[in-house]
């Protein structure tokens, strides 16, 4: 990491100034471009192949009726869900990692995904519920788990490491419950549950897009408004408090947002593993900028998920392999590499 800063300060005539990291801006631009390009490619991929130019024309409203149906009704919602889920997971992961001050403190490790899974499994196995009910169950499961972790870790405030360890304990309990639900199910329900548990974008429609979009529209600005405090908190609670940050309040608000984002994303697409863990880490490495890197993580998450889905569709055929398998295998490998390098640097 270079010591010389590449950031510039933007000054307005009114006396406002804004620190602008050129590299970060370029990287965010690249992430967005990648996400959109992968999105267009993903719309064109499938049993009926559509060239990218036709996809763009159809999105602009000038396609044939046939293309219009495939693009706007069938595949666009799937891509939008992918983008939104990826963005939510990326941002949620960045928040968790910043608050726990540990690169491994992501929702996958802390048991939030398992909590959502438990909620979904209850609906699938015990009630044989519809897709909408599964989504609701997953949302409730994730929120309850997040609340439980926060309350159990509370002891005159929430300390990052204690939260991580309590999360690990909660995760173990919930995983056991999930295993039990899976053994109770008959094989058809179990297969459905396992596909859900892997995380898939197959068969997503506009019903999943709108709630997620609304939630992101509310939560993302809220998170960014508190980002300044979060940056201070990376120096430690005491320093942050001395600099005027209300540590516990900022942490509570950000945790609630992170839990909501993760739970909503998991409810929409299942617990797609490792996006929340890898996106912030990759973003931080590419922007080379200190701090929580919230916006880059968000864009990185979206790019990562849609690209992974596209790769899975191209390599294994339409809807053969859920996207969660791809992110799981790639993310697992990346995790090992991360553990080795972070250990060498003594940061874990």
């Amino acid at each position: 990491m270079k010591t010389r800063s590449r950031s510039r300060a933007l000054r307005t005539p009114g006396g406002l100034s804004l620190r602008l990291d050129l590299r970060a801006v370029v990287v965010v631009g690249l992430f967005l471009a990648t996400a959109l390009a992968a999105g267009v490619a993903l719309i064109g991929t499938g049993d009926a192949h559509i060239p990218a130019a036709d996809v763009l024309r159809t999105l602009a409203g000038n396609g044939t009726a046939y293309q219009d149906f495939i693009v706007n009704e069938l595949r666009l919602p799937r891509v939008l869900v992918g983008l939104l889920v990826g963005a939510s997971l990326g941002l949620g992961g960045a928040l968790f990692q910043a608050v726990s001050r540990n690169p491994l403190g992501s929702p996958d490790v802390l048991g939030l995904s398992q909590g959502s899974t438990a909620g979904a499994l209850v609906v699938i196995v015990l009630m044989s519920g519809s897709a909408t009910q599964v989504t609701a169950g997953a949302l409730i499961g994730g929120l309850v788990t997040g609340l439980a972790i926060y309350l159990l870790a509370w002891k005159q405030g929430v300390h990052g490491y204690r939260m991580v360890l309590v999360g690990i304990g909660v995760s173990a309990i919930v995983t056991a419950v999930n295993g039990y639900l899976l053994t109770k199910a008959d094989l058809v329900d179990a297969a459905r549950a396992v596909v859900w548990m892997t995380g898939s974008l197959g068969g997503r429609d506009w019903d999943q897009v709108w709630p997620l979009l609304t939630l992101c529209a509310v939560l993302v600005p809220l998170v960014l408004a508190h980002a300044r405090g979060l940056r201070m908190m990376e120096m430690g609670d005491d320093t942050a408090a001395a600099l005027g940050v209300r540590v516990q309040r900022v942490r509570l608000v950000l945790m609630v947002c992170a839990v909501l984002l993760t739970a909503a994303a998991t409810a929409a697409a299942g617990p797609v593993s490792f996006v929340a863990l890898t996106a912030p880490q990759l973003a931080r490495r590419l922007t080379r900028s200190p701090g929580p890197n919230l916006v880059p993580s968000l864009c990185m998450g979206a790019a990562l998920l849609v690209t992974a889905d596209w790769a899975s569709q191209r390599a294994f055929g339409a809807d053969q392999l859920p996207v969660g398998v791809v992110t799981g295998v790639l993310g697992g490998g990346y995790l090992l590499w991360l553990l080795v390098t972070e250990r060498r640097a003594g940061r874990i």
């Binding site: 991580v164 056991a176 295993g179 392999l321 969660g324 398998v325 697992g332 553990l339």
Partner: protein, 347 residues
């Protein structure tokens, strides 16, 4: 770092007073009695409850009545519970001493997950069907993950958080792999979903005889390591000054833990938290001397495991709750309690 307030084993510093030793021996005897009771309960309780004389009849005057058949069925399950419980308790105690880490547990450190992933690979891709075949895969997986977690967790400088995180992260990765296998292969899902939660239900005579040699070897090795591990617990410098061979002790302790966890996991699937809860409880009874902790853990862990198994049979009657689920539901809160009790500065 070990966060126990008095990490110096008192028995090493000065011989324990005779009354204390007598109390410990008496405690051990009581534990054995508890173990016998737990074993009898495990034979008697279930979908078909048996009276004590029916159990007696089945055990010692087997004439093939209905009750005797039930006893036969449950006997092997109980024996496996005894063996696996002792193995997990010993492995947990050894790991806690070895890593000087109060939160070390074979399940938490990902060692069980490593063994599971290796076994699932063996069954699905190599067509290994016999327990003696895949127990070697289990050893391999357990050893690989154990070494990896130890290395990633920072080796000598390992902290509880680092080790737990490294173990959980690797478990998460392996869990993803297991899921991928189950999605690709539906028949694997049918078989695996029961095995991956940890259960004693499928135990038979052959299961027990196949893992017995490994478990016996691991148990003897672990018990023999009590004295050298006592030295390791005092810190590297003190141990060296006392003439302990640190590297050899560490390697043997890792071997013992791997064999015990690997064999137990191969026989009954991954079971969490037994290796965490029992050594903690035992330590508060006996003090920090491993020469007492290990025998106590070997006797009391099966009490917990069999107890959990019996509870699992009662609460979900006539179906049953797998023992791995019961131990996780019991052990998770204990773990959280331990985390909360420690001073935050050290976590």
């Amino acid at each position: 770092m070990l966060v126990d307030s008095s990490p110096v084993p008192r028995a090493e510093a000065a011989p324990a007073p005779p009354t204390r030793r007598a109390a410990r021996a008496l405690g051990l005897l009581l534990s054995v009695v508890m173990l016998v009771l737990a074993a009898l309960a495990s034979i008697a309780v279930g979908a078909k409850a048996l009276s004590p004389d029916q159990v007696w009849h089945g055990l010692f005057h087997d004439t093939g009545t209905y009750g005797d058949v039930v006893v036969d069925e449950r006997l092997w399950r109980t024996v496996l519970g005894l063996l696996a419980g002792a193995a997990l308790g010993l492995a947990g105690s050894v790991l806690q001493a070895l890593t000087r880490n109060p939160l070390a547990d074979p399940g938490l450190l990902g060692i069980n997950a490593g063994a599971s992933a290796a076994v699932v690979t063996a069954i699905t891709y190599f067509g290994v069907t016999s327990l003696t075949g895949y127990v070697w895969f289990a050893f391999l997986g357990a050893a690989a993950v154990g070494a990896l977690v130890w290395f990633l967790g920072g080796s000598r400088g390992a902290t509880p958080v680092r080790l737990a995180l490294a173990g959980t992260a690797i478990s998460a990765a392996l869990y993803g792999y297991l899921q991928a296998v189950m999605i690709i292969d539906d028949s694997a899902l049918g078989r695996m979903r029961f095995w991956t939660v940890g259960s004693l239900a499928s135990a038979t005579h052959s299961t027990v005889t196949q893992v017995l040699p490994f478990l016996a070897a691991g148990t003897l090795l672990a018990l023999a390591l009590a004295r050298p591990l006592n030295a390791v617990e005092m810190g590297d410098d003190t141990a060296r000054a006392l003439g302990a061979n640190l590297d050899r002790t560490r390697a043997l302790a890792m071997l013992a833990a791997t064999v015990l966890c690997g064999a137990a996991t191969a026989a009954c699937g991954p079971i969490m938290f037994v290796g965490l809860m029992v050594p903690h409880a035992v330590r508060s009874l006996t003090g920090p001397d491993l020469r007492w902790i290990l025998p106590y853990a070997a006797v009391l862990s099966p009490v917990l495991l069999l107890g959990a198994d019996v509870v699992g049979r009662i609460v979900a009657r006539p179906a049953e709750l797998q023992v791995g689920i019961v131990t996780a539901i019991l052990g998770g809160p204990v773990f959280i309690l331990l985390v909360r009790r420690r001073r935050t500065a050290q976590l």
